[in-house]
């Protein structure tokens, strides 16, 4: 069995909704049936074989080649199996993913991993705003699983995050961890302004001192026993986070956001 591969023939002018091309929806279908599926692109409905060359037969391992930033909803509600995107991905990458694995070699757009429930998302490049967030109007963002970003992340990382882990090797934009209910966000690079804005519970784990809002209170320096367990759980990742030399358990602990519930924490590595 070889991976079911979709190779983009051309770059459509309108954005393309890729949500029908997930493992559980393609399982058991013939290549002809898959080719006849329709993808929404603006006002158009495009047959899959109009947009992609299709090859392979293993629907549990999907590869999207020549991908570009207008392919939205890749891996939407994926429930098992893997999707590999060679190139960039559009908005709503792995939105509501239930289980499985999505890997993108390039960049990803807005709302990646939004309301994701479980599974693993890896983004080789940068990612847009609202990573792991809730959809506008909703109160619960990502509820589980792990997201790894090897580049930088945009603003509002983990907005309304409920559970799960977001790992960013690069920098994170403004409002990182805003309105978080729980979960963990780790940022190796720099963070922007308004860190943890209206954060209720959860952990922001930082390698570099942040610009903290006045509504976070210093709780002192500590050696925390759960950090070795957390870093151990990163060891299986293909990431800088897996490197034992980046791990630490001595942190400065800040509690906040005191203008909200105040039970969240920002843990900053003590150098």
């Amino acid at each position: 069995m070889s991976a079911l591969t979709f190779t983009l023939k051309y770059q459509p002018k309108q954005r393309v909704d890729m949500s029908p091309l997930v493992c559980q929806l393609l399982q058991g279908k013939t290549l002809e049936q898959i080719a006849a599926l329709e993808l929404h692109s603006g006002k158009l409905k495009l047959r899959v074989d109009q947009v992609f060359d299709i090859s392979g037969d293993d629907a549990q391992a999907i590869v999207i080649k020549n991908s570009f930033e207008k392919l939205d909803f890749v891996g939407k509600e994926l429930d098992g199996g893997s999707i590999t995107v060679e190139g960039d991905a559009g908005a709503y990458l792995a939105m509501g993913m239930k289980s499985g694995e999505v890997k993108v070699t390039g960049n990803a757009g807005l709302y990646a991993a939004c309301e994701m429930k479980k599974g693993y998302l890896e983004i080789g490049g940068n990612v847009g705003d609202f990573l792991g967030a809730a959809l506008p109007g909703n109160k619960m963002g990502m509820k589980g699983g792990t997201v790894l970003v090897k580049g930088n992340a945009g603003e509002r990382v983990g907005d309304h995050l409920r559970r799960g882990t977001i790992l960013i090797e690069g920098n994170a934009g403004d409002y990182c961890g805003s309105r978080m209910t729980a979960g963990t966000i780790a940022v190796m690079g720099q963070t922007g302004r308004y860190l943890g804005y209206a954060m209720r519970r959860g952990t922001l784990l930082l390698w570099n001192p942040p610009q903290l809002p006045a509504s976070f209170n210093d709780c002192g320096s500590h050696t925390l026993g759960f950090l070795p367990l957390l870093f151990n759980s990163f060891k299986k990742l293909n990431s800088k986070f897996a490197d034992a030399s980046v791990a630490f358990n001595r942190v400065q602990r800040y509690a906040g956001d005191m203008s909200e519930m105040g039970k969240a924490e920002v843990l900053v590595k003590i150098k």
Binding site: G144, R163, G164, A182, T184, R201, T203, H222, T223, L224, G225, F226, P228, L229, L230, N232, S233, K263, E265
Partner: protein, 298 residues
């Protein structure tokens, strides 16, 4: 059967189904992990009056523990799941939560889960923090020396309690020396505990009593001072009898522990005053697990 001059009785130990759990206690160093483990497994020699039987399974190297600190694995056995959960929670709360630098983790996996830190978290008075790491939930409970980290649940498994053998010797000192040698070897077997003090019990019991309020009383058939006034099991030269009781996760674990223990006793042999090895049973009517001494030593 005679090994090194020691007679192995043609009898069997009778054991019962129990529920068991295992937990891992870690601490700043082995000394404090052991202190917490000893406190947690204290007053847990027999289900008759302690509510459970507990002991140290083994000492763990830092590389074997979830948080990379020195640790101790403890096991608790009880007659039912409900009682086990209650004992685990009480003991974890009073003996491990309170012990400096300690952390508490699940030590066995099973589909049946019982609370470990799940309810202890309320000690945190609302300041406790949950962390799900690799699919396991941990509770971080703020305490005066920092944070007490406890995994939410541990596994509950079906197990066996009451494996035993008796060491019959010419003197008290010789019986004790033989039992010490046996326990030293048996402690190396994973998956078993010997819950009595130092692993040895000198007051083996029989079922029932002349006193209606008691459901167990001294095993007079093996009491050397009663040789002339009861239906004794002892020959004239036996002056002291000690028992080793074994609880284990599986029949094989108990088999192995009994084998190495009896072998260690027999290695001392009749030259060191060890005359017989026997076992306690109730005629085979009460416990479904029978550990035949001669089969084990064959």
């Amino acid at each position: 059967m005679i090994i090194n001059g020691v007679t192995i009785d043609a009898t069997f130990a009778e054991a019962f189904p129990m529920k068991a759990t295992r937990a891992i206690i870690t601490a700043h160093n082995e000394k404090w992990a052991l202190i917490a483990a000893q406190a947690m497994t204290g007053f847990a020699t027999s289900v008759i009056a302690c509510g459970c039987e507990a002991g140290i399974d083994r000492i763990l190297d830092a590389s074997e523990t979830p948080d990379g600190r020195p640790g101790v694995a403890v096991m608790i056995f009880a007659m039912g799941g409900k009682g086990l959960a209650k004992q685990l929670e009480t003991r974890a709360g009073q003996c491990v939560l309170t012990s400096p630098t300690s952390a508490l983790f699940a030590g066995i996996d099973s589909d049946t889960k019982i609370p470990l830190g799940k309810n202890l978290r309320y000690f945190g008075d609302g300041f406790q923090i949950a962390k799900v790491i690799d699919g396991k939930r941990y509770w971080r409970i703020p305490v005066m020396d920092g944070e007490f980290l406890a995994e939410a649940t541990t596994g509950q498994v079906s197990a066996i309690g009451g494996g035993n053998f008796l060491v019959l010797a010419q003197s008290q000192a010789q019986a004790l020396a033989a039992c010490e040698a046996a326990i030293e070897q048996m402690n190396k077997v994973p998956g078993v505990i010997m819950p009595f003090p130092g692993g040895v019990v000198r007051s083996g019991s029989k079922v029932g009593s002349k006193y209606a309020a008691l459901n167990a009383s001294t095993n007079d058939a093996f009491c050397p001072t009663l040789k002339g006034m009861t239906k004794t099991e002892l020959s004239p030269e036996i002056e002291s009898v000690m028992e080793i009781v074994i609880d284990g996760l599986t029949k094989e674990d108990i088999d192995k522990a009994m084998r190495v223990g009896i072998q260690a006793v027999c290695d001392l042999g009749s030259a060191n005053g060890i005359k017989r090895i026997s076992a306690g049973n109730y005629g085979g009517k009460l416990g479904p697990f029978h550990f035949h001494l001669q089969e084990i030593m064959a």
